[in-house]
């Protein structure tokens, strides 16, 4: 089963609006297809109301649509709706989770966190801040070949003092998939699924996740919406970290009693359109088939390896396609990544230059920055050809002669 790219491209309005643009920056944010826009627009135009509050028709409809979106997202990752919390994005989810764990876990000085240098700052920084506040020891598992995590090393770092194991499910720089990680009874396993979800099938239990998080906007969804997944029994015990309306059973002048269930973590009015849009994005991707999506981006990654690999001075920093979610980073000898990206931009090719919010990984690789091309459902081999041509031009323009 394969995807019909030329038909799919018609569903992305920005590709028609900006005809010459080659968009290879899905790892920063994906483009948004018409069905997602239409679903959000329908909410705003025909049943605009708040959720879980009103008794009138549009309020009921808004609540139904919001909860239906929750069901769709849950089903997409093989979870129950009661395990899916809508948040403002992956970073919001990660911060809320770590704050909640700080209140819930019995953390003492010298307890340990095991993580990796592959992590995006959204996972790493809340954990580092927690470690600083609670005087925890942070240990990093080594990289293995193909930019993966050395799972034997990770296992060896876990001790009876380990309370949190935080490992990405895919690198946003090298595209490397990291599947299940070993857990231990006393430690909570957190997976950052952001780069992986919507690019391949995801079954959250297969990743060994007690908690996980991701953004909607890197998987055809709108900006400003994301998900915190928590295993049912653990989510029940997690303390909320964000307080306001809609999350309480009772409030007196000196205390409040939180709701049971996921409402506990959804204080205040939610990004209703965003959740509905995310549900529509799930529909869109499941209609294409997530296996087919993964096959498509892996084929493109292979093509990118052959095109870029043939250019003098290019060094690739990308996992082999069979273990890649569709991200290819690279450097060009004697040319700063920012200049490569600028030449690409001038040619209408959108890529990203910098550390991609993964500074420890870049330091580990001895790099200050890389150029990153990320592939998705609307990309073609012609897009890769355009990237290759721009990189050749950058080489001709700047490389030391």
């Amino acid at each position: 089963m394969s995807i019909d790219v030329s038909n799919i491209r018609k569903q992305f309005p920005t590709l028609s609006a900006d005809a010459g643009m080659v968009y290879l920056d899905t790892a920063a944010t994906s483009l948004t297809p018409e069905p997602v826009l239409a679903a959000m627009d329908r909410y705003y135009r025909t049943y605009r109301a708040n959720t879980h509050r009103g008794l009138y028709r549009s309020a009921e409809q808004a609540t139904d649509a919001y909860e239906m979106a929750r069901k769709k997202v849950a089903s997409c990752i093989g979870a129950a709706p009661g395990e899916v919390v809508f948040t403002g994005g992956a970073t919001a989810a990660s911060n809320m989770l770590v704050y909640g764990l700080e209140q819930t876990l019995d953390l003492t000085e010298g307890d340990e966190v095991v993580t990796t240098v592959l992590e995006h700052h959204a996972m790493l920084l809340p954990v580092l801040e927690l470690a600083r506040r609670k005087k925890l020891v942070v240990k990093y598992a080594q990289l293995s070949e193909g930019f993966s995590v050395d799972l034997d090393d990770l296992r060896s770092l876990v001790s009876e003092r380990t309370k949190i194991i935080a490992v990405t499910a895919a690198s946003n720089v090298t595209g490397r998939m990291v599947d299940s990680v070993p857990g231990v009874e006393q430690a909570v396993v957190i997976r950052d699924v952001t780069a992986r979800i919507g690019h391949m099938p995801v079954r959250i239990q297969d990743l060994g996740a007690d908690f996980a998080f991701f953004s909607g906007h890197k998987m055809c969804g709108p900006t400003g919406i994301g998900v915190l997944y928590g295993r049912e029994d653990l989510l029940k015990r997690l303390q909320p970290g964000f307080f306001g309306g809609g999350m309480v059973d009772d409030v007196t002048l000196d205390k409040a009693r939180w709701c049971d269930g996921v409402e506990r973590f959804e204080a205040g009015s939610q990004n209703i359109a965003g959740a509905i849009g995310l549900g529509a994005a799930v529909d869109f991707l499941e209609h294409l088939g997530l296996d087919a999506v993964h096959t498509h981006v892996r084929k493109l990654a292979d093509y990118a390896f052959s095109v870029l690999g043939a250019i003098d001075g290019v060094t690739l920093y990308a996992a082999p396609s069979v273990q890649n979610v569709g991200i290819v980073s690279f450097t060009l000898d004697s040319v700063h990544p920012h200049d490569v990206a600028q030449v690409c931009a001038d040619a209408g090719v959108a890529v990203r230059a910098g550390h991609h919010c993964a500074l420890p990984l870049h330091k580990e690789l001895g790099l200050s920055a890389t150029v990153r091309a990320s592939l998705y459902v609307f990309n073609t081999t012609e897009d890769i050809d355009a990237l290759g041509a721009a990189v050749v031009r950058a080489h001709a323009l700047f490389a030391a002669h």
């Binding site: 700063h336 990544p337 920012h338 600028q342 001038d346 230059a353 200050s368 920055a369 700047f398």
Partner: protein, 122 residues
């Protein structure tokens, strides 16, 4: 006249930068970094009797940041400290003479910001 970003003058200063060297005994030296882009420099000033005898930089960065560093150090050498303090962002933009979008201006102004901070320490 070529008004594009990578005009010949900019490329020349980037590929053959003036004053790209460490000063052995600087009056002041400071880092100037833009970690989002990967530009990382150190700026150096040698000042005697209120005059900038030497200005230089070391480090790596994109063409625009390196060209700006080269042009700026050329301009600063021989200036009084008081005059150097009047080199505004606007003057640096004029010196570069290229279109600066929001993303590029951080690189273009990076070393100027470093020298501005260094001049405050005198």
């Amino acid at each position: 006249m070529d008004t594009s970003l990578y005009q010949a003058r900019i490329l020349d200063h980037a590929q053959h930068p003036r004053h790209k060297e460490e000063l052995p005994d600087p009056t002041v030296s400071l880092p100037a970094k833009n970690s989002a882009c990967g530009d990382s420099y150190i700026v150096y000033l040698n000042v005697e009797d209120g005059i900038i005898k030497n200005a230089s930089f070391t480090g790596i960065g994109c063409v625009i940041s390196q060209a700006a560093a080269s042009l700026l150090t050329d301009m600063l050498i021989g200036m009084t400290v008081d005059d150097a303090r009047t080199v505004t962002e606007e003057k640096v933009r004029t010196l570069l003479g290229i279109p600066l979008t929001r993303n590029i201006e951080k690189c273009a102004l990076l070393v100027w910001r470093g020298f501005t901070e260094a001049l405050k320490k005198l």
